[in-house]
Symmetry: C2
Subunit: 358 residues, 2 copies
């Protein structure tokens, strides 16, 4: 089996070591003789793993003690409704920054629960930049941002100072660079980019954020249920949590978030430099807002795009086709994607340039 | 590694063949060179698996065409609130049969959304029987039952004729015996007993059930979102679905639901016969309501219980300790548990009887 260069936007590449370690757990979890998917979630061995996972995340991201870390089944999209249900007071207001499809979805769901003020919106240019110079209303309950926009390839490299708690969807860039946790009231992220496989969402919640919305909340929708139950109020999604744990152990092993940030910066530098240099391609986003997770670019005409995609696929470069909202190409360069794959893509772009007859 | 006899109540034993097949998919899914957890959920290969999974469930349970089958991330507990949110009209009424802890939780959550009439309740005898002779109100929107009560070891072997649609939590006995689907408006089940690992819930919904509640529903909470999106409105919990698919392929391979029902009946017969025969043990539930999935029994005194549990554990019988609500023992005998494990447990009970000095 040849090595695939997996640039998928998510579900996406994970460290081989983590997948292999999860296979060991699927056959014999911690020498219990049982599979990790067959053992009781109330067993000592699993409860230990849950606790280690919480501590690992706290340690990797330097999370202060006044924050809880919980894991919920399902995806980040569930949080689009649960966040305002838990945080947006009846008759209150929340502020949203509309920077892409997912941010727009989050905005839409928040309107179900209260008033929403959109403080910045980049839809005018097909979300190819991060709005700046906006004002955050101090009378809103929170300010919601999407730190990385998977579809459009923009990322917030500067988090504003905010008079109100920031709530951030970090689904596609959590664990890719250090986070100044104290700027946030709540952080959430679906696992299936840098953290693990699909099926679990992590939340980091400052402990003064809850219980202020003034509405009754069904048990399973109430974050307090899951904080109190230590993410085991009901049976957790065991395997998604386990492979996430092993992925983060891999991250810890290579030096943690600062180490991966350097590698991610190098990958971004190598790929964006080629996009800027190569006359057949161009980047679609504002340069200062370029994402280090999803590199979105286009060919200068349709024929070039078709031909290059064909060449890339023939060279086992996978998942490069751009999202239909932008077209062209999207190279997702999450934590587990090796620099070698980026270099290989760049070589392929260079060879394509040489051979291309226009 | 010696073979464990895994009587866990859930997460619980799964077919070895299914786990091994999932490991192949974790290394190289359908010869793509990618792991099943790394491939896009929009890839042809994964979409095929989703479709096969839907068809497999329809075929195993003989589901008519006017029902949709969907998969949601998270557990069955989420459905305790989503069901009334979707089905219980504003100012309307739903009928519930209270047969155990989970049924009670479902009842509690339904009260959040409307009026609840409890038509039968076996809490008076610690849920050791299924209420009978109750009347189902014809002016309620639906009648909610829990077909198997994992904690207390009772199972509904007779589903009443109902003037209103029956909604059933089948988390712990789906796929264990044939279901007369047309009796139901909605069936739901968390995967982690007979279907697969924790992290996904299957729903079977008759297509006239939705859109009648008269309330607005957040996108992710609305079953119609997931029916329309074919369970891929957002990224599905890929591995939990995949291992569930492989578990059900195993079930199909051994002859499907009628074949496993025979084996389950045999397992129940062997174990309950010994409980009734052995003077050191007794069953805790009404005989006619005995579950074929969770066999709950006790020792005649505390010392016997302590000693027997010790012996069982020394013989690699795992997960036998009863739930604290009942005490004693609970032997869960889900589909994947071989008859041999039940026979081994029975032999252990017989040897314990011979050696026990009272």
């Amino acid at each position: 089996m040849s090595q695939i260069h997996n640039f998928s936007a998510g579900p996406s590449i994970l460290p081989k070591e983590a997948i292999e370690a999860s296979i060991e757990g699927l056959r014999n979890f911690k020498n219990t003789g049982l599979s990790v998917v067959e053992i009781s979630h109330r067993s000592k061995q699993w409860e230990e793993t849950m606790e280690e996972m919480r501590q690992l995340i706290k340690s990797l991201l330097h999370i202060p003690n006044n924050y809880d870390v919980i894991f919920l089944g399902g995806g980040a999209s569930h949080q689009f409704t649960m966040i305002p249900q838990n945080l947006l007071p009846v008759n209150g207001k929340a502020a949203y920054l509309k920077t892409g499809t997912w941010a727009a979805n989050a905005t839409k769901e928040a309107k179900f629960w209260g008033n929403v003020q959109i403080v910045g919106d980049s839809e005018d240019k097909n979300y190819n930049y991060i709005p700046k110079g906006y004002e955050i209303p101090s009378d809103a309950a929170y300010f919601h941002i999407t730190t990385n926009n998977t579809i459009f390839g923009t990322e917030m490299h500067h988090i504003p100072d905010s008079p109100i708690p920031i709530v951030a969807d970090m689904s596609s860039d959590i664990f890719s660079c250090p986070i100044d946790i104290e700027k946030y009231g709540l952080i959430y992220a679906g696992a299936q980019k840098n953290m693990g496989p699909a099926g679990v969402t992590v939340l980091i919640i400052r402990n003064d954020m809850l219980g202020k919305a003034g509405r009754e909340i069904p048990t399973m929708m109430d974050y307090r249920t899951h904080i109190k139950g230590e993410s085991m109020y009901n049976t957790p999604p065991v395997y998604p949590i386990y492979l996430s744990y092993l992925t983060l152990k891999w991250l810890e092993g290579i030096g943690g978030v600062p180490a991966i940030q350097k590698i991610n910066q190098e990958k971004g530098h190598v790929l964006y430099s080629e996009i800027d240099r190569n006359p057949l391609f161009y980047g679609t986003t504002e340069v200062e807002d370029r994402s280090l997770m999803n590199v979105v670019f286009r060919g200068i005409d349709e024929k070039i795009e078709t031909e290059f995609l064909k060449l890339a696929e023939s060279r086992l470069i996978s998942g490069l086709k751009g999202h239909r909202s932008v077209g062209g190409f999207r190279a997702s360069t999450y934590n587990a994607l090796p620099l070698e794959s980026v270099k290989f893509l760049v070589e392929t772009m260079q060879e394509f340039e040489k051979s291309y007859q226009g």
